[in-house]
């Protein structure tokens, strides 16, 4: 039986704004399948985004949706979650939104380990504004603001998240959609801040300028360069050059921020331990 | 009572802002008068010249800063030199006799008291100098009752230091009384 996407898509809000060949539609569907498998009531989900192509996603979904300012999705989401810790709060962000203008919010949300699921759609470029280089644009790639090839070193988003204290870190790709479903499910189920980097393709502003002849080429690049982390870890460095690991890259047990905060609230209710 | 202006001055960390707050609390909450307490301070939490002002009046107090001071306390030379010019004619300049040696001249009365020495030697804790000063100011200004000041002190100081602070307050009060009689 085919999956009924319409139960989650807001009537009359499609078609989406994404270009032909953009992989965001694949991830969008994966996200809906994942949420559906967890049977979370739609009323209990808030989907928050910042600015950029990925940030338009919440508008299409029948949840409580919040499309905020550039880079700021996480602090808005933190506000929602702190006010309603019983609800499921998720963030959809892009590489520029999450790690450039929102970089400070990103690392501090990781540090707090607040129970928010962060999906970072990494397409290696600022797509909506027309192809400027982002903190994840590979070295040497052409961008409208790197017309002679990118000289900026780039972020590794899972490493950044792990270093900042996120308690669940993973990476998937738009090509490996079935595996992505499972990763999104696990990211949502994790109690604490989870960061899932999702490798995406922007044929219009990135691929076209960087020797990808077609959107298909970009998907094939994902297929060829992604390695499940279990396999990746067994290979010697010379065999993993140019490849990236996918799957659950890191997880740890850590106190969740709202639980800690509202635990304090409970303790203050008892006059013995409460301090003025 | 018309407007009466008091300035507590010294060095950051001497507790003079707290002394001003306690005095204002004694005046407002316990003596039911009108008072405004304000302060001006720099970026330093310790050191520098700091001041705290309390204005008392039986009317509403609008302009909140001291401009014609009835009584100024100065615990350091730096604060005394920097701020004494606002003491009004016939006002009083109360200085620590050990730490303010170059006392400025003017048409005001000068009272020299060993405030810090009393705190460190008689009470045994230099950090209660602000409370000793508060006692002295209560005696000199006669604007607020010593009972009210004592209540305000006890409501503001850390638990376990009540006796110490009470002793400091009375030491300052008696020191000034003795000097004035």
């Amino acid at each position: 039986m085919s999956f009924d996407y319409d139960q989650y898509i807001r009537g009359g809000k499609l078609p989406h704004i994404w270009c032909p060949g953009c992989t965001y539609g694949i991830v969008f569907k994966s996200l809906l399948r994942a949420v559906d498998s967890l049977k979370i009531p739609k009323d209990d989900v808030a989907l928050v985004s910042g600015i950029g192509c990925a940030s338009r996603l919440p508008g299409y979904v029948d949840f409580n949706t919040l499309h905020t300012t550039h880079g700021r999705a996480l602090p808005f989401a933190t506000g929602l979650k702190m006010a309603r810790p019983d609800k499921k709060v998720m963030v959809v962000s892009g590489d520029g939104d999450a790690t450039a203008i929102g970089g400070n919010h990103f690392i501090h949300a990781c540090r707090r380990n607040i129970d928010i699921t962060v999906l970072v759609f990494n397409n290696f470029i600022y797509g909506m504004t027309g192809g400027q280089y982002s903190p994840t644009t590979p070295s040497g790639h052409l961008a409208t603001t790197m017309p002679y090839g990118n000289i900026d070193p780039s972020f590794n988003i899972p490493d950044l998240a792990k270093g900042a204290g996120a308690s669940w870190v993973g990476r998937g790709t738009a090509y490996h959609a079935a595996a992505l479903d499972k990763l999104i499910v696990e990211a949502i189920q994790h109690k604490g801040l989870s960061v899932l980097e999702i490798i995406n393709a922007c044929p219009t502003t990135h691929g076209r300028r960087n020797k990808f002849k077609s959107p298909t080429d970009m998907l094939l690049w994902m297929k060829d360069t992604a390695l499940p982390v279990t396999a990746f870890d067994k290979l010697p460095p010379e065999k993993t050059a140019g490849k990236f690991p996918t799957g659950v890259l890191f997880k740890r047990e850590a106190p969740e921020y709202c639980e800690t905060y509202y635990g304090l609230v409970e303790r203050l209710k008892s006059p013995k331990e409460g301090r003025a | 009572m018309s407007r009466y202006e008091i300035r507590f001055s010294g060095s950051g960390g001497q507790g003079l802002i707290l002394a001003g707050v306690i005095f204002a609390e004694a005046a407002t909450i316990y003596d039911r008068k009108n008072a405004v307490q304000s302060q001006s301070y720099g970026p330093e939490a310790r050191g520098g010249a700091s001041k705290s002002e309390v204005i008392l009046s039986d009317k509403t107090i609008d302009f909140p800063k001291a401009t014609a001071i009835d009584l100024q306390l100065s615990l350091t030379q730096e604060a005394c030199t920097k701020y004494y010019k606002d003491v009004k004619e016939s006002g009083t300049l109360l200085v620590d006799e050990d730490f303010v040696t170059d006392v400025p001249q003017g048409n005001f009365k000068v009272i020299r008291l060993p405030i810090i020495r009393t705190a460190s030697e008689e009470i045994g804790k230099a950090f209660v100098a602000n409370i000793v000063a508060l006692g002295a100011i209560t005696a000199i200004t006669q604007q607020v009752s010593i009972d009210s000041v004592e209540k305000a002190v006890l409501s503001r100081v850390p638990k376990g230091t009540e006796d110490l602070n009470k002793k400091a307050l009375m030491a300052g009060y008696n020191l000034a009384k003795a000097r004035m009689s």
């Binding site: 905020t68 602090p75 | 405004v36 304000s38 800063k65």
Partner: protein, 376 residues
């Protein structure tokens, strides 16, 4: 009889917020507003509310909008540079119509300026700080008791009109202590946002057909809807190049403009027969009052107009004063900002003279008295 306390202006602000039902605070440490955050950090966990110290001022503003959308009355407090950083998200709250209260304890500026000294030079920023056209309500209390009651009013206005409300007072007023009475619950009115009565399936979050302030559903209460900082239609979804953008922005402005009578408050002191009126707010208003009393004692017919609401600007009131006095004196802790508004409303009907000071000390009553004598 309520509870008597000796409180700082900043503390009274926090007390006022709690009285109004605030259960959410997010902030970032900055002088001279930090005592508001410190008070909320002590108080909110005890009543089950949320306190967050965020990574920066931008995040704090974002977090309170999130908190408010989830149903909590929300507050942030800041000063100078922090107020600049909050501007983008203040605009977001204005366009998305999310109630919240932003306190700006004004210090000297520009840049880092004088963090521990008073200023009134953010007053135009309160009105024009964020980009684009947007409604602004900004309150300017001058006494500690007033900070308490105006903070309660700020929450009421924010909730009633679904808009961010700014409270702007200077460092002197924020840090000074005065006796205040905290009234018992129920003495001051407390308002809550208008809630939808319709079924969730019929809910249009930005429907302008039944009034200028559409009812607001909180997130997670069954009314799933979309909130976006893009200009949007009645259903909350983006619209582009549509006449709706124009009419909707007019509606946002009208929420405030059409309710000036309710929103504008001021102290009018002896202006009836005055030949010279001092127009001043905050600590300058306090100096102005003392100066006016001194002038009256000297036989000069002086008065004081002290706005408690600076935005929307009390245009009619200033115009009326201008038509019957020789001059208006405008003392402000800036190099001349609000005087332009006074001048705009006076329209040449009387002299308008400023007194400006930015050295960290307040304008004294004697400075103002001298100017009153000059203008009379």
């Amino acid at each position: 009889m309520g509870k008597l306390k000796l409180l700082q202006g900043n503390e009274a602000c926090a007390e006022g917020a709690l009285y109004a039902g605030c259960t959410f605070f997010a902030g970032y440490p900055i002088t001279p507003s930090t005592e508001v955050a410190e008070f909320m950090a002590r108080s909110l966990p005890k009543i089950g509310g949320a306190f967050l110290q965020m990574e920066d001022e931008i995040a704090a503003m974002a977090a309170i909008i999130g908190g408010s959308l989830a149903g909590a009355k929300s507050l942030t407090a800041t000063s100078g540079p922090g107020f600049s950083l909050k501007q983008e998200n203040i605009g977001f709250a204005a366009l998305t119509e999310v109630p919240c209260v932003v306190v700006n304890v004004m210090r000297g500026g520009p840049s880092t300026g004088v963090p521990t000294g008073p200023g009134q030079s953010d007053i135009m920023q309160c009105k024009w700080g964020t980009h684009g056209d947007h409604p602004v309500i900004c309150l300017t209390p001058a006494y500690v008791q007033e900070i308490f009651s105006e903070t309660v009013r700020a929450f009421n206005l924010a909730e009633k009109y679904r808009t961010p409300v700014i409270i702007a007072f200077d460092e002197i007023v924020g840090h000074m202590r005065e006796k205040i009475e905290i009234p018992d619950k129920g003495v001051l009115p407390v308002e809550d946002r208008p809630k939808p009565a319709c079924k969730p399936s019929e809910y249009l979050p930005y429907d302008d057909s039944k009034g200028d302030v559409p009812p607001m559903a909180n997130f997670f209460e069954g009314y799933r809807y979309h909130v976006t900082g893009l200009n949007h239609g009645p259903d909350g979804f983006p619209v582009n190049a549509s006449p709706r953008i124009h009419t909707d922005e007019l509606r946002l402005m009208r929420k405030v403009e059409a309710n000036r009578k309710e929103i504008i408050r001021y102290e009018d002191y002896m202006t009836d027969d005055a030949e010279v009126v001092v127009f001043a707010y905050g600590v300058s208003g306090r100096s102005g009052k003392t100066a006016v009393e001194a002038a009256r004692a000297d036989g000069i017919k002086a008065g004081l107009f002290r706005p408690l609401t600076i935005w929307p600007f009390p245009e009619e009131e200033v115009a009326s004063i201008a038509s019957r006095v020789k001059g208006i004196v405008v003392p402000e802790l800036s190099l001349g900002q609000i005087i332009f508004e006074v001048d705009r409303c006076a329209k040449g009907r009387c002299r308008v003279e400023g007194i400006y000071r930015v050295d960290g000390d307040p304008i004294t009553p004697s400075q103002i008295l001298a100017k009153i004598k000059e203008v009379k």
